[in-house]
Assembly symmetry: C2
Homo-oligomer: 229 residues x 2
């Protein structure tokens, strides 16, 4: 069965740039392509949009199907439409990006039928299609967002230390931050709930754990509060 149209149409696809944070690095989730074109190369998870779903839904579906990563906030990034971005035929792709706590998703991704893995953004392999361009755009957006939104809590486990949070910001912004000033600022925002717990199994003094106060965030957001860091 085929579908016929009076005018030629490009195919419509989605691609997802999913960032995770590792002890060492900001990472991106990639899958290895098992079909041509670019068979064997690493690529962003994604696929074609179906007629009974929005583009947002397609992105979410493809991400789960190909990597097992679900329950993620996907934000639309940009639509890529260069004429030759797919060698087979004209494909326009709507890119999405998401932040996840890598430790939640490390195993799932690796055990899925398709080969999926995390790669440090600073050391990516050659990617299929125009996916390098898409990743660059996503990084740019992440850097922009991080400056005026308390983004990045998604990248950490539910309970985290201030040092972990600082390292995250340093990775994303690619610059060192002063410990005292960072703590002062981030605590002053009032979005962190101090827990009566400390991290475990570290070979030095254990740091206090904090939790992101989502409820308070939503309250302040509603009041047009500014979260510039």
């Amino acid at each position: 069965m085929t579908f016929s149209y009076k005018y030629e149409r490009p195919a419509l696809a989605v691609d997802c740039v999913v960032f995770g944070l590792d002890d060492d690095d900001l990472k991106v989730l990639l899958i290895r392509r098992d079909i041509e074109p670019f068979q064997g190369r690493w690529a962003l998870p994604g696929g074609f949009v179906r007629m009974d779903e929005t583009v947002d839904e397609a992105a979410k579906r493809e991400l789960v199907e190909e990597t097992g990563v679900g329950r993620v906030f996907l934000e639309q990034l940009y639509t890529f439409s260069a004429l030759d971005r797919d060698p087979r035929e004209r494909v326009v792709s709507v890119a999405y990006f998401a932040l996840v706590n890598l430790s939640d998703h490390r195993v799932k991704a690796a055990t899925d039928a398709r080969e999926a893995a995390w790669f440090a953004t600073s050391d990516l392999p050659a990617l299929a299609f125009d996916h390098e361009i898409i990743v660059d755009k996503a990084l740019e957006r992440l850097r922009g967002k991080v400056r005026y939104q308390p983004v990045g809590f998604e990248l950490l486990p539910p309970k985290f230390t201030l040092r972990m949070l600082q390292r995250l910001y340093e990775k994303v912004l690619e610059k060192a931050l002063d410990k005292r000033n960072f703590r002062k600022k981030v605590l002053a925002m009032g979005l962190l709930e101090e827990l009566d717990e400390v991290e475990q199994d570290v070979a030095h003094r254990a740091a206090r754990l904090y939790r992101f106060d989502k409820k308070r965030y939503r309250e302040l957001e509603k009041q047009g509060f500014d979260f510039e860091l």
Copy 2:
């Protein structure tokens, strides 16, 4: 002649939200639809993407064809894909937005074959499709941009007074600004070139004219300078 595909595909379109500044108001450029659906209603300029052009090119082309507005910096805004956004069939639309100096474009738009006109954003007519949602998204983006980029010079004539610039910011941000603080800040950015001219034909003391120093802007931008206002 028809085109057949193995899988069903949505049609792909573009829509343009073009903002202009009037003495009184922030305005949007609309065209009146001359065919069904929504015949007779006002809508954003736009149309279907061709196979030999990128989405960016399609937006630019449609804008010129339907309104005569050209030489404009169009920035991609968002891709809209609700299943029922077009009553005829599934259409996914990539929206763009642009800022233009309204006085340059007032006449052209009005004399084009299709009926085109500027409407105050605060007083829009009922729009076709989901175009109200698109305009809202564009306004949100404009407000976001204006805070950290010296956006908006595009909305003014090449030579403008500081008062005009301030009014622009007040319209976009929807709040009053202090004259002295505004001037202090905007001049401190060093992006304005003071001219040896004053405005003409005003019924009071004439204000000095300034010009936006694009060259300097690009220099500072390259150095990662911050233009928060």
